[in-house]
């Protein structure tokens, strides 16, 4: 395969220069093939009428990659971090590259990560789940025990309460990976929490659970019993394979539609009690400070939200004409009912097409065909869920909550399309 990248005329010199700088550092000789747009694409030696090398010589055999990996030309599609956010990478967050994903399922290797004491490295044979407290029988389970139990699989999003949290005081991060990337969506498989609690027999006084992780942060959250018995799961698999270590292998709690921190990873213990524990993560953190100086506590569910993933900072527009506006919508309050899109900063809206399956408490994909005239535009999406709740603007959220609540920002997001087709994160009146 030829390795020299020819210079081609492009519509967006600034983006292209940045891109080439990046891809050269990344892939060296194969940079050409990683170029994403028609205007940039291709080594002429590999294009018709020429016959490229892969059409002549044999490729790898079936025994080369026992566990398959993405194409080497997709190396930019990775989780990323914002190093200045946190003191150490062991207690930090990485963001899912949502602009580069398709459909509603997040690949396991790209699911965002939020750890508080690093990734616990646990041998499945050495893992135990203890359930004790206000129960008839205090029980300990091996992973083999849990996998013997009746199983359920559900598609649900998982979103950090702080997704979008850096935008409360104004537009701050340029890429959608950072403004909205603390969200992922997988098919989760495991056992209903109610099945496990039935095995122990909960006492009438039992109203709360404490769920605790086996990691070095000993992460703990109080879960109200109604939610525990409603739709919580104790899961061991995501998207058909065992959980990834960074998602809590071999066992995590899953609390559908509620802030991600509650879905305790590396779940080792559940204590059943009659009142909440007020752990550090539900008092000093994950509480929403209001302008009055009082903070909302136990703000569990994730409200209806949406974002356009293309066009976006990562997905500029390549020339006038047809553009498919694409995005994701989700709600912790059931299913997405409708998504509207505006190209004029929210003056006028039109309903987008919902594409693919619509599951409760899951990412939902929307599309809208659009013809770009080459002029500046302000793109927004606004989701409505089956409870009738309409996604708010920043102005509406700030009027009630101020700018210091960190968590639970579900504002309509605005992309400004500039004349060159580049797209930037802005906030508007």
């Amino acid at each position: 395969m030829a390795t020299k990248k020819p210079e081609l005329p492009v519509e967006n010199p600034l983006n292209r220069r940045n891109f080439l700088k990046g891809s050269a550092a990344l892939a060296g000789g194969v940079a050409a093939a990683a170029v994403p747009t028609m205007a940039l694409a291709g080594d002429p030696e590999n294009l018709p009428p020429n016959v490229p090398s892969w059409s002549q010589g044999l490729g790898d055999g079936v025994d080369i990659t026992p566990y398959g990996m993405p194409s080497e030309f997709e190396q930019k599609v990775v989780r990323r971090t914002v190093p200045w956010l946190t003191a150490t990478p062991e207690s930090s967050v990485s963001f899912t590259p949502i602009a580069d994903l398709h459909g509603i399922i997040t690949p396991n290797g790209l699911h965002f990560c939020r750890h508080h004491g690093g990734v616990a490295d646990i041998d499945t044979d050495d893992h135990r789940l203890v359930i004790h407290g206000l129960v008839d029988r205090e029980l300990i389970f091996t992973m083999r025990d849990i996998k013997r139990m009746p199983s359920v699989s559900r598609v649900h999003f998982l979103e950090c309460a702080a997704n979008g949290g850096m935008e409360w005081r104004g537009a701050q991060l340029e890429a959608v990976q950072f403004t909205h990337g603390m969200i992922s969506c997988c098919e989760w498989t495991g056992v209903k929490l109610s099945t496990l609690l039935d095995e122990c027999g909960i006492k009438p006084k039992a109203k709360w659970l404490l769920a605790e992780g086996a990691d070095a942060s000993g992460m703990t959250r109080s879960i109200p019993m109604d939610k525990a018995l409603d739709d919580c799961m104790v899961v061991y698999a995501q998207n058909g394979e065992m959980l990834r270590p960074e998602q809590g292998y071999p066992l995590r709690l899953f609390v559908p539609g509620w802030e991600g921190n509650m879905s305790i990873k590396w779940l080792r213990r559940i204590e059943v009690g009659d009142q909440p524990w007020h752990t550090r993560e539900e008092t000093s953190k994950y509480t929403d400070l209001m302008p009055t100086g009082k903070a909302r506590q136990f703000t569990w569910f994730q409200e209806c939200n949406s974002v356009i993933t293309s066009p976006s900072m990562e997905k500029p527009i390549n020339g006038k004409g047809f553009v498919e506006i694409q995005g994701l919508a989700w709600t912790g309050q059931g299913k997405i009912k409708q998504v509207d899109v505006s190209v004029d900063g929210g003056k006028n809206w039109q309903p987008a097409q919902i594409d693919g399956p619509v599951f409760g408490k899951a990412l939902t994909r929307f599309h809208l065909p659009w013809k770009w005239d080459g002029k500046p535009a302000l793109l927004q999406s606004r989701a409505i869920d089956e409870s009738g709740y309409v996604q708010p603007d920043f102005s509406e959220l700030r009027a009630l909550r101020g700018e210091w609540s960190i968590y639970h920002n579900n504002s309509v997001h605005t992309w400004k399309v500039n004349t060159g087709g580049d797209v930037e994160n802005v906030q508007i009146s």
Partner: protein
């Protein structure tokens, strides 16, 4: 009855029995999992609740706590709890919660002192969790409370005293969750008259490069 018919009947009866024995009723126990003793649970049962539930026997002092704190905690949290770099500030911040720079410290924000014990016992020192003795955890808790003017310099802390402390921001929390708090209908046409761009992320210039692998 022919032998073959008998066989078929025999098989179907066996199949019936097999089916019914593997179908469990709702709420019926599966019989999976093993009983676990109190002494085994005790090794993992490390939580402490505001009512004192879970706080172990033992005690500590501010004086001893200062020693442990300087050795085990000050590198990240600062000698006076002021925090180093991005590590959490532990002290002060009183009267800042309504300002443009709210400081949510143990003193200014935490509603329960028991949470301090619970958190230090399970997660601190960072990178060497669950290594402190019960008395050391009581002592460090006492020292952090002393730094926040909640305990006197000569104070001793045990389960009863810790659960009895009323934290300054005890009444600073709103329950239950008032959301959904924004109530609106979906306007479709001529929803706004004037639109102005108020802020640009580009101008803040703090975004990591998304064009290359990390």
């Amino acid at each position: 009855m022919s032998k073959s018919l008998k066989n078929i009947l025999g098989i179907s009866v066996a199949a019936l029995i097999f089916t019914s024995s593997t179908t469990t009723m709702a709420g019926e126990r599966l019989g999976i999992g093993s009983l676990v003793s109190k002494s085994v649970i005790a090794g993992w049962d490390i939580d402490a609740r505001p009512d004192g539930h879970g706080l172990p026997k033992g005690s500590g002092t501010v004086e001893k706590g200062e020693e442990v704190y300087l050795e085990q905690c000050a590198a990240c949290h600062g000698e006076f709890g002021e925090g180093a770099g991005r590590y959490p500030v532990l002290m002060g911040g009183y009267d800042t919660l309504t300002t443009a720079d709210p400081q949510k410290t143990v003193g200014s924000y935490w509603p329960y002192a028991t949470t301090l014990y619970d958190y230090i016992r399970r997660a601190m020192p960072y990178g060497n969790a669950q290594s402190l003795t019960t008395d050391e955890v009581y002592s460090v808790s006492a020292y952090v409370l002393f730094m926040n003017d909640i305990l006197e310099e000569d104070a001793t802390l045990d389960a009863q005293r810790l659960a009895a402390i009323k934290m300054p921001n005890r009444n600073g929390f709103i329950l239950p969750d008032p959301r959904p708090d924004v109530k609106k209908t979906a306007c479709m046409k001529d929803c706004k008259t004037r639109i102005e761009v108020k802020s640009f992320a580009r101008k803040v210039a703090v975004t990591p490069d998304v064009k290359k692998p990390q």
